[in-house]
């Protein structure tokens, strides 16, 4: 982690591509500037000594639980596709993939 952010417009375009997010040129400029200052700010963490510290990903110590694998009455196919912007019967419709 460096004190100067390495966020330039090219990085923003690459991240937007990874995130499957279309940005306007104005948004690209805005996020280049804003993410740069946020990343500079969070770089403060680099001064903390974390040698030998395990990452904490869930805050309480509770054990992970699972339920019995039993079939339950869930939503019908009609209910599942009801909110789709484009469907055919009980199927989601998408544009050509290939």
């Amino acid at each position: 982690m460096t004190s100067q952010s390495n966020i330039d417009k090219k990085t923003i375009q690459k991240i937007a591509d990874l995130a499957q997010l279309a940005l306007t040129p104005e948004e690209e400029n805005l996020y280049t500037e804003q993410l740069g200052s946020i990343v500079n700010y969070v770089s403060l963490l680099s001064e903390v000594n974390t040698d030998g510290i395990e990452p904490l990903v869930t805050p309480t110590d509770m054990a992970f639980t699972m339920r019995e694998d039993e079939p339950l009455k869930q939503l019908s196919p009609e209910e599942i596709v009801a909110n789709s912007p484009d469907k055919s019967g009980n199927l989601f419709k998408v544009p050509p993939v290939l």
Binding site: M1, I7, T11, I12, I15, A16, L18, A19, Q20, L21, A22, L23, T24, E27, Y31, Q34, L35, S37, I38, V39, Y41, V42, S43, L44, L45, S46, V48, T50, I53, E54, P55, L56, V57, T58, P59, T60, D61, M62, F64, T65, M66, R67, L75, E79, I80, V81, A82, N83, S84, P85, D86, F92, V94, P95, P96, V97
Partner: protein, 480 residues
Amino acid sequence: MKELASRIQKGEVTALSITERAIKLAKASQKDLNAFITICEKEALDKAKALDALVKNGKTLGPLAGVPIAVKDLLLTTGIRTTAGSKILDNFIPPYSSTVVQKLEAAGAVIIGKTNLDEFAMGASNENSAYGPAKNPWDLTRVPGGSSGGSAAAVAAGITLGAIGTDTGGSIREPANFCGIVGLKPTYGRVSRFGVVAFASSLDQVGPMCKTVEDAALMLEVISGKDMNDSTSASVATQKWSQNIPTDVKGMRVGLPKEYFVEGIEPEVEKNVRRSIEILKNAGATIVDISLPHTKYGIGVYYLIAPCEASANLSRYDGIRFGHRAKNVADLSELYKRSRGEGFGPEPKRRIMLGTFALSSGYYDAYFKKACKVRRLIRNDFTEAFKKCDVIATPVTTGPAFKVGEKSSDPLAMYLNDIFTLSPSLAGIPGISLNCGYSKEGLPTGIQLLSNHFEEDKIIRAATVIEKNQTDVRKVPYGL
């Protein structure tokens, strides 16, 4: 709330008349407060009539019999539009209800509407809502706080006695503080998140926002507990938090972290917090000085972890199964990109970008993993502190509600607003915020009380003592 439920149960007043009043107030307030995204008039009136019929037939209803409740528009409600404050879900009608909503309804509550929020609960002012900002009933030129701003405004304005909010980094406690009400963020895992639109899954928690501490305790009783549909909900016994709350804090050790009483806090805010600490002392508590040395890293840790988790959670909005879909696209990739680009507002986009960056190859260890390590140090600070005290008392924010537009152009300034609420969220501990006085301008200012995991009883007890001993209790100036 208990009194109202009891009167409805006894048939002294009808659920219908109470619901009609709440709906009328909600509608009348919309032009000023914009607290609701959807008011479910028909569903609420039908439910109230059904409850009245049950009462007539001698049936015993639940603890919230006929009580109107407002629910943040982040919780799914069967057949009632749920937007998460985003245009991407503008037309989304959930086919099922969240566990919290199911529990509220089973307890006899009448859900009158879905409240305004920052888009996907990302924000501290409600200005990030795609449906226009909600306003603060104490001063309509000021923000109600966020992200549960609509819930806070609705309760503060007297539309309902209680509301549901969600809190990821302060989104219940901060708006409760700005609107002069009580907001309780339970321990991570205390309340099921099934059917709650996900923002940051290692942080999100659902909780009550009410006029009184007792009401918040009662609502917590109703909504908490293990849920087989949420593997992160905890198998920890719930309690009757609202019953027999002690009126003293004899033997309780109250810790004051030196890192939370620093320069930059407005004098009135600190004065009011210190006066409440005196109240606790006079009611039998011992005050101890404590230290949470990693406090200054809380914001940095949060603004890496929350966006990382958000970028993963928000990847489900692809324009295919639900939500906005872009028109006239050539292929699947363009459909994803344009649907998301058109559907998400500025703040979710910013956080998706930040999270995707911090998780991307070459940066994962330096940002995400580093943040998770410092997160453990922050949690360890609290573990150590709770060896010396039972409850920690702090301000909620450095100042009272700010003006609409004051911080909206600078995301970092907005993020810094959450300085006192973020670290407790990262540690997963419960927190309550309640009013403890007013600023020079007459705006409410609050105090935050924190306890160790699953020790909500302690903060409810301390908050009750503070609430009962307030000498300066003012009425909200906004009248309906």
